[in-house]
Amino acid sequence: MNPLVTPGIGLLFWQVVTFLLVLFLLSKFAWKPIMAALREREANIDHALSMAEKAKLEMQSLKADNERLLNEARAERERILKEATEAANHLVEGARAKANEEGQRMIENARLSIENEKKAALTEVKNLAATLSIDIAEKLIKRELQDEQAQRALVQSYLQEANLG
């Protein structure tokens, strides 16, 4: 047989012994720590990545929270301002209304008293006029009744006018 394809006993023996030894020693002292280190590092990297992702999400939620708080604060301010304005407006409005009312009332009072005064004055004028008229009429009648001639003429004229027919 060709020596190339005839396995030599010596080499077979040494190959088995050496290879098993190499396999054992490398497995125990090289591959095991290396694989463990690689695994550990990959786990670390995975962990770090997931932590970063988590931090990012937290950051986002924090930011959203801040935004929300800010918005709330803004809304609150808006509300307070609005309320204050409203209250101020209300106050002014109330004061104005009250002043108006007071004025109105005073005017009304004034008007009423003027009216009363006027009425009283008028009544007085009327009474005075009546008294004057009665006085005048009394004086007139007194004077007329002194002249008989004239009395007769007047009765005559009335009668004519009545035209008793």
Partner: protein
């Protein structure tokens, strides 16, 4: 960089020359190539730069350990030593004349008597170097992971980390599924073992370890054993009672179980042959290109050979990685098949859905 390349090629050609001078007068490319892709008792880096390796022999109740340089005299000629003799790259018992002892085999044929040879050959030595490298690299990386816990990779660590993660995510996770973790040590080990040894084999003077059938045999055997021992009920059910197959092909004429059982062994067998053939072929091509220089006995062919060999070397660098990847990927796929929880009502991607429906209703 350029200087290094030039140096590498010089080394490569020198070792080819060395082979020539060792073989004698006539240059035989076949012998030189077989010598280079095969195993050896010495590590021949370049002409004159030879590292003798220990020879370990066991036989007839005694263990002999000595350096392979004992087989050579001062003129680099082979000689018997301690009752052993080396011939054609094998060690046999020597007789009185210093020739290999001839004994009768079991079937009556004549053969050389050989002891059990557990020598640290060039391939074994190269494997030890690669193991040393593997330990050096990955223990230091493991240390870096412990020291710089939770931090990013640095230096060598950042070179190997993507590869390790690729094997985990693209090879193991995709092909094995949720139970991938228990196969990770094996997958990582074979990937880096094959890759490192492929690369070491490309260095001029390096051994052709992953192109040796014994090595790929052991690696494939490991994959086979792990597959078989991690096979779950549905894996064995698939083999002995393949869903979607008419009953008479399973119980009447047991073709399907037979085919499936053969399939258990052909899968790792293909792993063994693929790695062996790819790596050896690459070495043979590069060596053949250099042999052209000596066949044509012309300096003019040198640049052409070097250009082609450079191209081939880059291709082999890629093949070194590719074959390691393929071996690991296919192993992962076999493991995935063994631990997968099959739902017997779908067609499992075999395209036999209509039959499966018939079989179940």
């Amino acid at each position: 960089m350029k200087k290094i390349l030039v140096f590498l090629f010089a080394l490569f050609t020198f070792s080819a020359q060395a082979a020539e001078s060792a073989e004698g007068e006539k240059f035989s490319p076949g012998d030189m190539i077989m010598h280079h892709v095969g195993d050896d008792y010495t590590w021949h880096f370049a002409d004159g730069v030879v590292l003798p390796l220990p020879v370990i022999l066991y036989g007839e109740g005694k263990l002999d350990v000595f350096m392979s340089s004992n087989f050579y005299d001062e003129h680099h000629q082979l000689k018997p030593y301690k009752g052993y003799v080396m011939e054609h790259g094998h060690i046999y018992y020597a007789n009185e004349e210093g020739e290999p002892k001839v004994v009768e085999g079991e079937n009556g044929e004549e053969k050389h008597a050989a002891p059990l040879d557990l020598s640290i050959t060039k391939n074994v030595a190269s494997m030890f170097v690669s193991v040393l490298l593997l330990f050096l690299v990955f223990f230091s990386i493991a240390g870096a992971y412990k020291k710089r816990r939770g931090q990013g990779p640095r230096g060598v660590q950042s070179f190997f980390e993507p590869i390790i993660i690729f094997i985990r995510d693209e090879i193991a996770k995709t092909n094995i599924g949720p139970k991938y973790e228990r196969f990770m040590p094996y997958l990582l080990t074979i990937f880096f073992f094959i890759w490192f040894n492929n690369l070491l084999g490309l260095i001029p003077g390096g051994a052709n370890l992953t192109g040796n059938i014994a090595v790929t045999l052991v690696l494939a055997l490991m994959t086979l054993l792990i597959t078989v021992f991690s096979g779950n009920k549905s894996y064995w059910g698939h083999i002995f009672n393949t869903p979607g197959v008419p009953w008479w092909l399973k119980w009447g004429i047991p073709i399907m179980p037979l085919v499936e059982v053969i399939g258990i062994f052909t899968k790792p067998f293909s792993l063994m042959v693929r790695l062996f053939a790819n790596i050896t072929a690459g070495h043979i091509i590069i060596l053949s290109l250099f042999s052209l220089i000596f066949i044509f006995e012309s300096v003019a062919i040198g640049p052409v050979s070097v250009a082609f060999a450079t191209f081939m070397n880059f291709l082999e660098l890629f093949v070194a990685l590719l074959q390691a990847y393929i071996f690991t990927l296919l192993s992962a796929m076999y493991f995935g098949g063994a631990v997968e929880e099959h739902d017997h009502h779908d067609d499992m991607g075999h395209g036999d859905a209509p039959y499966a429906v018939d079989a179940h209703h």
